[in-house]
C-alpha cells in the first residue's frame, strides 16, 4: 500500500497491545554472550585470506610509482591490488557505486592506494607497511572556511530537498525589522565513531558473490555492489544480520566491501577485511563541517517577520550531496519572509556524507542557539519566544502539520526540569567553584517513509516467520518487528521468528534517516494484515470482525486455532509500503524539547553536564525501552557535538590529525551523569499505518544547542564555534578571587 490517506482505526489500536511495551531486546542474550555474529566473524575457513588497506598519504595528486616488491616477498602475502592490476569498475556518486584503485589519481587523503592480502591479518598488515608509494603532490583545497569563495549551488536532485527556498521578501523584511539578530556559527568535521569497524568478507561461487558486510541499507548496497563490479544485481548477495552501530557511516558501500570482492575473485578464495580504527576516519565518510549564518528579524513582541539561514558545507568535487542544515528552519517557526540557501564548497578531503540526523544535527546547533540569543536580546524567556512563534501550518509550504506538539514538549519539560528556577541573567548561579546554568532547545526532525517489503509465513507448528532485507544496527529492530507481528497475529513474541539482514529476503528500506522502523514496520504490518485476511477466509469469518488472540481467531462467538487453518505447507503473505501523497499533503516532523543543566568551572573553564532531559512526541512508540535508549543515545551525541567532537584538519596534508578515539573525543560515561528521555502520547495517522514517527535522530536534533545555551546562562560566554571546549570560554571567566 502507498500512504495516500490518513489511517483509521486499525489492529494496533487495540488496547491489549504488545506494541509499545518495554520488551527486552530479543537479541540481547545473543549479543552479550558473543553469539551474535558480525560481518568479520563469519566463516573462518582455512581458505580465508585477510586484506589490509594501504591508504594514500597525500591529500591530492597522483601516484608516480608504487613499489610492491618487498611486500610481495613478505611472509604469507598472496595478492597485492593496486591500480595497475585492478579491473575497471562502474562509477557513480558515493550513493551509487564505490570504485577503488581505478587509476593513479589521489583525490583525498586515505583513499586506498593498495590492498594487501595475506594468509593472516597480521601478515597482511606487516606487508602493507612495506608498500612504497611515490607521490606527485599537487595543491589541494582542504579547509572549508578558507575556500568559501569557491562555493557553488549544488544541483537540485529529484526526491531530494531543493538547496534553496524563499518566501516573501526576506531582505527587505529583515532590514526593516525592529529587532535583528545576525550571527554566524561554525560546526566541525565529525566522524561517526561507531563501535564496529567497517568490515566485509567476500566469497565467490562461480559468478555469484556473497558479501558478509556491515551495511545499513542492504537493498541499496546490493545495487551499488552490482553497479561497481558490473554484474547482475541477482548475482550479489549481502548478508548483515548484526551491525555494531552505523550512524550513517555504513549507509553506503565502502571500500572494504569492494576491495574484498575484487581480491576474492582474483584469488578464488574468501577474503576478509576490517578497517582499523585509525583508517575509518579517512577511508570512509564523515560529516562535513559547516559555516552557518542565521538572520532573525522580529517585531517588538518577538514575533519573527524574517528568517534566514545560509549554510556552507564541503564535499569532493565529484560529489553533490551537501549538509542539509537549514531544513528545519524552513518549517519550525513562523515568519512571512523566509530564505534558506545551501552552498557546497568543492574540497579535496574524504567523502562527506550522512551522519546521524544529517542536516538537523548541526543545523539546529545554529538555529536553536540563535533563538536563545534572540530571546536574550528581546528579554524574553526562550520558551515564551518559541510559543510566540509557533505556526499553525507549515510556514513555507502552507500545508498542515501531520501532528505537532512542540509546545506541549516544551511545557512538560519545563515542569519536569524545574525551568522556573533558572535565573535568566547569565553568570549568577554558583555552586562552589562552578557556575551553573540551564538551557533549552527545540528538537525537530523530518519524518520520512520509504518503500519496503516483507514476507510472513505461519507454519503448522505455530511459528510465524517474517523475512525482510531489513537491518538492525543496534537500535532494536528485531524486537519492535517481533512486537508488531505478535500483536497483529495474536501470538506471544516467542512464537515469532524474525529474519533480517539478507538480500535474499524481500527488499527493505534498511536503517537510516529515521525511516527504518516506520518503513519496514509498515511493510510487516501490511503483510500481517493480508495474512489475517487469509486466515479469516480459511476460517469462514469476516476479516473485519475477526480478532486474533492467544493463537486463535475469533468472530461471531466462534474461535479457531490458527495452526488448524494454515495447512501442512503453512500460509504466506506479502506486504509492502510506499510513500504517497500524505508526505506532500502534510508537513511531517517529530518534535521535542531538550533541557540541560551545565556547570562551568570558574577557574579552568571546564564544562560538565549535570543533568539533561528530553521530552518528545514521535507518534506511536513501538517499544518504550528501545525508544528511550534511542532518544538518550541521540542526546549523548548532542553532548558530544556541543562539548567534544571535532576532527582537526591539517591543511598542509589534507588529513584529519586526531584520527583515533584517544584524541577524537566522544562522551564517556562520566560525561553523562543524569539523563532521561520521555515520550508524550501521540498518534500520527498521516505518517504510516503504525501511526509512528521516526525517533532515531530526534534525540540529537537540537540537543547540543541546549547545552550551548546552558553554558551561556552559566557563565555568559556565547560561543558560536562548536565544540565548546574550555579554551573558548577561558577569556570570559571571572577574575579569580
Amino acid at each position: 500500500m502507498d500512504m495516500n490517506a490518513p489511517i483509521g482505526q486499525n489492529a494496533l489500536d487495540d488496547p491489549k497491545s504488545i506494541v509499545g511495551k518495554p520488551l527486552d531486546r530479543i537479541d540481547g542474550r545473543l549479543k552479550v554472550t558473543g553469539a551474535a555474529r558480525y560481518a568479520y566473524e563469519f566463516a573462518q575457513e582455512t581458505t580465508t585470506t585477510y586484506g589490509y588497506v594501504v591508504e594514500a598519504a597525500i591529500g591530492k595528486g597522483r601516484i608516480r610509482s608504487i613499489d610492491t616488491r618487498a611486500a610481495e616477498r613478505s611472509p604469507g602475502v598472496v595478492l597485492i591490488l593496486t591500480h595497475r592490476n585492478t579491473p575497471g569498475q562502474g562509477t557513480g556518486s558515493h550513493h551509487e557505486a564505490h570504485p577503488v584503485l581505478t587509476d593513479a589519481n589521489v583525490n583525498y587523503y586515505g583513499q586506498p592506494a593498495a590492498f594487501v592480502v595475506a594468509e593472516t591479518f597480521e601478515q597482511a598488515r606487516a606487508a602493507a607497511y612495506l608498500v612504497r608509494v611515490d607521490y606527485e603532490r599537487v595543491a589541494g583545497k582542504y579547509a572549508l572556511e578558507s575556500n568559501l569563495k569557491y562555493a557553488g549551488s549544488p544541483p537540485a536532485q529529484e526526491g531530494q530537498p531543493h538547496p534553496d527556498s524563499a518566501v516573501g521578501d526576506f531582505t527587505g523584511a529583515f532590514a526593516s525589522a525592529p529587532v535583528q539578530l545576525d550571527v554566524t556559527y561554525t560546526t566541525p568535521l565529525q566522524s561517526h565513531a561507531m563501535m564496529e569497524p567497517h568490515a566485509s568478507m567476500a566469497v565467490w561461487e562461480g559468478d555469484k558473490l556473497t558479501l558478509h558486510t556491515a551495511n545499513q541499507m542492504l537493498s541499496q548496497g546490493q545495487e551499488a555492489v552490482a553497479r561497481t563490479l558490473k554484474m547482475p544485481v541477482e548475482n550479489v548477495r549481502l548478508i548483515s544480520p548484526f551491525i555494531g552501530g552505523g550512524f550513517g557511516g555504513k549507509l553506503w558501500v565502502n571500500a572494504d566491501a569492494i576491495l574484498a570482492a575484487i581480491a576474492a575473485r582474483q584469488l578464488n578464495r574468501p577474503v576478509k577485511t576490517a578497517l582499523t580504527r585509525q583508517q575509518i576516519f579517512h577511508v570512509t565518510t564523515h560529516r562535513s563541517d559547516t559555516v552557518q549564518r542565521i538572520r532573525l528579524g522580529t517585531d517588538r513582541d518577538g514575533r519573527i517577520v524574517a528568517i534566514g539561514h545560509d549554510v556552507f558545507s564541503g564535499n569532493l568535487p565529484s560529489e553533490q550531496s551537501f549538509e542539509t542544515a537549514a531544513m528545519q528552519t524552513r518549517t519550525l517557526y513562523v515568519g512571512a519572509n523566509r530564505l534558506t540557501r545551501h552552498r557546497l564548497v568543492p574540497l579535496d578531503i574524504p567523502i562527506a556524507s550522512s551522519m546521524r540526523a544529517p542536516g538537523e544535527a548541526v543545523g539546529m546547533l545554529a538555529l536553536e542557539c540563535a533563538m536563545d540569543e534572540l530571546a536574550a536580546k528581546l528579554n524574553l524567556d526562550p520558551i515564551d519566544l518559541r510559543i510566540r512563534n509557533e505556526p499553525t501550518e507549515d510556514p513555507e509550504k502552507h500545508i498542515p502539520y501531520s501532528s505537532r506538539h512542540l509546545i506541549a514538549c516544551l511545557q512538560e519539560g519545563a515542569k519536569r526540569f524545574g525551568w522556573d528556577k533558572r535565573n535568566p541573567k547569565p553568570g549568577q548561579v554558583a555552586d562552589g567553584r562552578w557556575l551553573v546554568g540551564m538551557g533549552v532547545a527545540a528538537a525537530s526532525r523530518g519524518n520520512p517513509l520509504r518503500t519496503s517489503k516483507a514476507n510472513v509465513r505461519l507454519d503448522p507448528d505455530g511459528i510465524l516467520t517474517a523475512k525482510m532485507a531489513m537491518t538492525d544496527i543496534g537500535t532494536g529492530t528485531y524486537t519492535i518487528m517481533t512486537q508488531i507481528a505478535a500483536e497483529m497475529l495474536g501470538l506471544p513474541p516467542d512464537r515469532i521468528r524474525m529474519e533480517l539482514g539478507d538480500t535474499r529476503f524481500p527488499e527493505a528500506a534498511g536503517s537510516g534517516g529515521s525511516f527504518g522502523a516506520a518503513s519496514a514496520g509498515s511493510a510487516l504490518f501490511d503483510a500481517c494484515e493480508t495474512l489475517r485476511a487469509k486466515l479469516a477466509g480459511a476460517a469462514g469469518m469476516d476479516p473485519k470482525a475477526a480478532r486474533f488472540a492467544d493463537g486463535n481467531i475469533e468472530a461471531g462467538g466462534r474461535s479457531k486455532r490458527l495452526t488448524d487453518l494454515v495447512g501442512n505447507a503453512g500460509m504466506e503473505a506479502d506486504g509492502e509500503i510506499g510513500p504517497g501523497t500524505t508526505l506532500k499533503d502534510f508537513s511531517q516532523q517529530s518534535y521535542g524539547a531538550h533541557f540541560a543543566e551545565v556547570a562551568v568551572d570558574m577557574d579552568t573553564g571546564e564544562i560538565r553536564l549535570r543533568r539533561m532531559l528530553g521530552v518528545f512526541t514521535a507518534g506511536r512508540i513501538l517499544n518504550e525501552k528501545t525508544a528511550r535508549s534511542q532518544a538518550i543515545g541521540g542526546m549523548v551525541f548532542g553532548i558530544g557535538a556541543a562539548l567534544e567532537e571535532g576532527l582537526n584538519l591539517d591543511p598542509r596534508f589534507g588529513h584529519f590529525v586526531n584520527h583515533d578515539l584517544a584524541e577524537y573525543h566522544v562522551p564517556v560515561h562520566a560525561d553523562v551523569p543524569v539523563i532521561d528521555a520521555v515520550f508524550l502520547p501521540e498518534l500520527d495517522t498521516k505518517s504510516n499505518p503504525l501511526k509512528s514517527k521516526g525517533i532515531g535522530e530526534l534525540g540529537i536534533s537540537g540537543a547540543g544547542a541546549a547545552l550551548a545555551n546552558a553554558i551561556y546562562n552559566a557563565c555568559g560566554a556565547r560561543v558560536r564555534d562548536y565544540p565548546i571546549t574550555l579554551d573558548k570560554v577561558l577569556t570570559v571567566l571571572p577574575v579569580q578571587a
Binding site: Y129, D603, T604, N658, A662, V668, A670, L733, Q736
Partner: protein, 326 residues
C-alpha cells in the same frame, strides 16, 4: 606490527642481559607498546616479557617511605591503603589517568616510560624527530593543541602524558634500575626524563639493557596533597594541564610547597624558584601569582596551545587557594 621474537624473562638479571641486544623492548602491561607496534611507530625485533619477575610488591622502606615494584599495576598502586593514606596525590593522579581497564594492565615502570600522545608521532607518514630523527617536527607548524609550552626545543614540542609521574615528581621519587652487568642505581625522577633538546628520540637516562625495577618514595612531606587534572572530558582524556601540589600551610602562611605540572612540558615539570617564593609567604593572590610567574617563565605557545599558559596560571591559583584554605 613487524615480526618479533618473544622471551619471557624468569630473573631480573636475565631480563637485563637479554635486553642489551639492539631492538629489544621490555613488555609489561603493553597498553602503550602494543598500540605503537600495530602502527609501526615501535618496531622491536625482540620483546622481553617481564610480567613474571618478582617486581610486583609494594613494600615499606626503613626510612618510612615506600618501594613500589616496577610491575605493580596502576590500579593496585592507587588502591594500596598506604598510598591512599600517605600519598593521596599519587593515588588521585593514577585514578585520573586512562580507564579502569587500562589501569588494571598498566604498570608503574611502563607508566613512566609511556610515549607522548603527539598526533604526528603516532602517524608514520608524517615527519617526527622523536620517531625518525632528522625528519622534522610536523607539530610545530601543525595542529598542536595538546602540545608543550615549556621545555620544548626546535626539534620537538611533545608532552609527556603521564599523570602518575607528575605526582611522583612532587614526591621526589627515585627510579631504581638494574643494568645488564647487574649494577643497580637510583635516579632521581627529576633527572629520569630528559629534555628533547637535540635528541628528542632519547627520552630517559636509561642505558640499553637497563631495567626499571622499582620506584621509591621518601616519607611523605607534611601538608595538603592535591592532584588537579584539567581535561576536555570528565574521564579518559589526557591532561591539558595538571598540577600535583603538596602544600604545608597554617594561619594564612605557607611553610613549604611542592608543585609539579603535567600537560605543559616534555617531562613532569617542577620549578624550584616557584616553591622558594611560596615558602614562608602569606597565602595570597600576590604569592600565588608570583609562583605562577616562576613556573611559566619562558613558556611559549605554538598557536593552538596558547591557552595552556593562562590555563596553567588559573589552575595553579585554584589549587593553591584550595590547599591553603583555613
Amino acid at each position: 606490527m613487524k615480526a618479533f621474537t618473544y622471551e619471557r624473562a624468569e630473573t631480573i638479571t636475565r631480563a637485563a642481559a637479554a635486553a642489551v641486544k639492539p631492538g629489544t623492548k621490555f613488555i609489561a602491561g603493553g597498553t602503550n607498546l602494543l598500540d605503537l607496534m600495530k602502527l609501526q611507530v615501535e618496531t622491536p625485533s625482540q620483546l622481553v616479557d617481564i610480567n613474571r619477575l618478582p617486581l610486583d610488591k609494594i613494600e615499606d622502606t626503613s626510612d618510612g617511605g615506600l618501594r613500589i615494584g616496577a610491575t605493580v599495576r596502576n590500579s593496585d598502586l592507587a588502591a594500596d591503603p598506604r598510598v591512599r593514606r600517605r600519598y593521596g596525590v599519587l593515588s588521585r593522579a593514577l585514578l585520573s589517568g586512562a580507564s579502569a581497564q587500562l589501569r588494571n594492565k598498566a604498570t608503574t615502570g611502563g607508566n613512566l616510560l609511556q610515549r607522548t600522545r603527539c598526533y604526528y608521532f603516532y602517524d608514520v607518514t608524517k615527519p617526527c624527530n622523536k620517531r625518525e630523527p632528522g625528519s622534522g617536527c610536523a607539530a610545530l607548524g601543525g595542529f598542536n593543541r595538546i602540545h608543550a609550552v615549556l621545555g620544548t626545543s626546535e626539534l620537538c614540542i611533545a608532552t609527556h602524558p603521564s599523570d602518575m609521574a607528575v605526582a611522583m615528581r612532587a614526591l621526589d621519587a627515585n627510579v631504581e634500575t638494574l643494568d645488564a652487568e647487574g649494577k643497580a642505581r637510583s635516579i632521581p625522577i627529576a633527572d629520569f626524563h630528559r629534555f628533547p633538546a637535540r635528541t628528542p628520540q632519547i627520552e630517559t637516562m636509561l642505558k640499553p639493557g637497563e631495567i626499571v625495577t622499582a620506584v621509591t618514595l621518601p616519607p611523605p612531606p607534611p601538608g595538603t596533597q592535591i592532584y588537579r587534572k584539567v581535561r576536555d572530558r570528565a574521564s579518559y582524556a589526557f591532561a591539558l594541564v595538571s598540577v600535583a601540589a603538596i602544600v604545608d600551610a597554617a594561619g594564612g602562611r605557607i611553610r613549604s610547597a611542592r608543585l609539579a605540572f603535567g600537560g605543559l612540558a616534555s617531562k613532569p615539570w617542577r620549578v624550584a624558584q616557584a616553591e622558594e617564593r611560596l615558602a614562608g609567604a602569606s597565602a595570597d593572590a600576590e604569592a600565588f601569582d608570583g609562583a605562577a610567574n616562576a613556573v611559566l617563565d619562558g613558556a611559549r605557545g605554538y598557536g593552538h596551545n596558547d591557552f595552556k599558559v593562562p590555563l596553567a596560571r588559573r589552575t595553579l591559583r585554584a589549587v593553591l587557594t584550595e590547599a591553603t584554605r583555613a
